[in-house]
């Protein structure tokens, strides 16, 4: 192990340009993955915010007694898909309307009676917050005799969830494609670096080195080059993020777990590419 580490570090010293080239190729291919990660994270964040606003409003009949209202409220909260149910009285509804629609204040002032009904605002548990889940809760609320009407923006909801599905599928397909392209480029970069040292492998065989002994330094070298490339990609992604964020569009930085996964993936890809490339030479030797 110590020999493998010493040789891997010595290889960087002996051929710094080749190492830099390999790390740069790995870095550039992972930069694409990194930028894609930032884009995916931000699209998901926006969709989460939009979905957070999904709300079902059950408008109550004026004849509903407080007891009936409380009964329905309790029945809804007991459902596993419902997180919270707020009662909004007719007076509160009018206050909100006057606040949110200040331009119609004169109309509201001239009214003799409050035309707005009381309502129950129902918030869903996030795990159940898809189109079918929302419809099921809305239908359940609508069945209560004290409920006059239920609104949840059905058309808008369908579009949000369709967008979520498309974005999800696109991120899987594009992510897999970018990942594969990065893996192929990393494989090629490492193969070039190992090809340059083909003679060294031949001589190692010549003097009686075991396969394990030959493989060790190359695996570590691949690991270090991958880490170096991954670090460079992370730095470059951050620079691009800082340049774009605030100037072109408001962006959020990816979570630390994603950063860790990206760096680990770079290192692992480098090591695996090395293992595959060295195996070819070991087989032919």
């Amino acid at each position: 192990m110590i020999h493998a580490l010493r040789e891997a570090l010595a290889a960087f010293r002996r051929a710094p340009l080749l190492t830099a080239l390999s790390a740069a190729m790995i870095g550039l291919s992972l930069l694409v993955v990194g930028l894609f990660g930032v884009a995916t994270w931000n699209v998901n964040r926006v969709l989460d915010e939009v979905e957070d606003r999904v709300e079902i409003v059950a408008y109550l009949r004026d004849s509903a007694s407080p007891r009936e209202v409380t009964g329905l409220q309790e029945a809804l909260v007991e459902r596993p898909d419902v997180a919270e149910v707020f009662y909004v009285s007719r007076e509160q509804a009018l206050q909100v309307a006057r606040r949110d629609m200040a331009e119609f204040d004169s109309i509201f002032s001239s009214l003799d009676t409050n035309p707005l009904p009381a309502s129950l605002e129902i918030r869903m548990v996030p795990a159940y917050r898809d189109a079918d889940g929302v419809r099921a809760v809305a239908a359940a609320a609508g069945e209560a005799p004290i409920v006059e009407d239920v609104r949840f923006g059905a058309d808008w909801l369908d579009k949000v969830f369709l967008l979520r599905r498309v974005a999800g599928a696109a991120s899987v397909v594009l992510g897999a494609t970018f990942g594969l392209v990065a893996a192929l480029i990393i494989g090629a970069a490492v193969r070039i670096s190992i090809f340059a040292r083909k003679e060294e492998i031949e001589i190692m065989h010549l003097v009686g080195a075991a396969d394990r002994f030959i493989r060790g330094p190359f695996l570590l070298e691949g690991l270090f080059t991958g880490m170096l490339g991954g670090g460079a990609a992370l730095g470059a992604t951050f620079v691009v993020y800082r340049v774009l964020s605030g100037r072109v569009v408001e962006l959020a930085w990816i979570p630390v777990e994603w950063v860790a996964i990206g760096l680990a993936a770079g290192a692992l890809l480098g090591m695996m590419a090395s293992a595959v490339a060295v195996r070819r030479y070991l087989r032919t030797a």
Binding site: H3, A15, I203, L206, V207, G208, A209, D211, F213
Partner: protein, 225 residues
């Protein structure tokens, strides 16, 4: 120590060796001669277990080519030194590092490697040039480094494939003398060469001449007759 038993080696388009048999013992010096393509390098590659015979058997230091496992080949090669016409030195490492390379694979300690490398380079007359890169050495000096590397693990057998092919007369003589000393110390030497003048200068050595994959002359057989 070395035994070729009716060895046949066929490739897709040609037969490289056809029924070759011979034996060598400790300290024997054997020249392999013959024109290009006669089968000299194939004999060396079979001895190094880089290839296996199509039929027959090759035995080196107790290992049989028909039974040897891949990991045993690595172990066997530590007992076999190999020297090539083109030296095969690592160009980005010094003479000492090239020799040390052969010791590192055995897991020897660094202090032990340092001492041994110094002794080996002194033995081939290059103690003063241990820090030189191959590009800073002459052909003869590079071949001496290759010989030092081949001797690093006290080999039982030393294989040499046209080791003087790229050297001038003086360097050839120097390298050849080195091989004689190595043989005298108990290592079996198999020396493939075109250089008949060199062969003539060594009446003590056994000579095997190959032609189209067959032994057409064996000095030991003539001696016995």
């Amino acid at each position: 120590m070395i035994r070729f038993e009716n060895v046949v080696k066929r490739y897709a388009r040609a037969t490289a060796l056809d029924g070759v048999s011979f034996q060598l013992g400790k300290g024997d010096f054997c020249f392999l001669t013959g024109h290009s393509g006669a089968g000299k390098s194939t004999v060396l590659r079979l001895l190094h277990m880089a290839e296996r015979p199509t039929s027959g058997d090759v035995r080196v230091s107790g290992y049989s080519a028909s039974k040897v496992r891949r990991r045993d080949i690595a172990r066997l090669r530590r007992k076999i030194g190999y020297v090539f016409q083109d030296f095969r030195l690592l160009q980005d490492r010094t003479a000492a590092e090239n020799v040390a390379f052969a010791l590192e694979v055995t897991g020897a300690k660094r202090s032990e490697i340092r001492t041994r490398v110094g002794r080996l380079l002194s033995h081939v007359g290059l103690a003063a040039k241990s820090g030189a890169l191959p590009s800073q050495l002459s052909g003869g000096e590079q071949q001496r480094v290759a010989v030092a590397r081949a001797l690093a693990n006290d080999p039982l057998v030393l294989l040499a494939d046209e080791p003087t092919g790229n050297l001038d007369e003086r360097a050839t003589r120097g390298v050849y003398e080195l091989f004689r000393e190595i043989s005298a110390a108990g290592t079996a030497v198999v020396f493939a060469t075109h250089d008949l003048e060199l062969v003539r200068r060594a009446p003590f050595a056994r000579v095997l001449e190959l032609d189209h994959g067959k032994i057409v002359f064996d000095s030991a057989a003539r001696g016995a007759a």
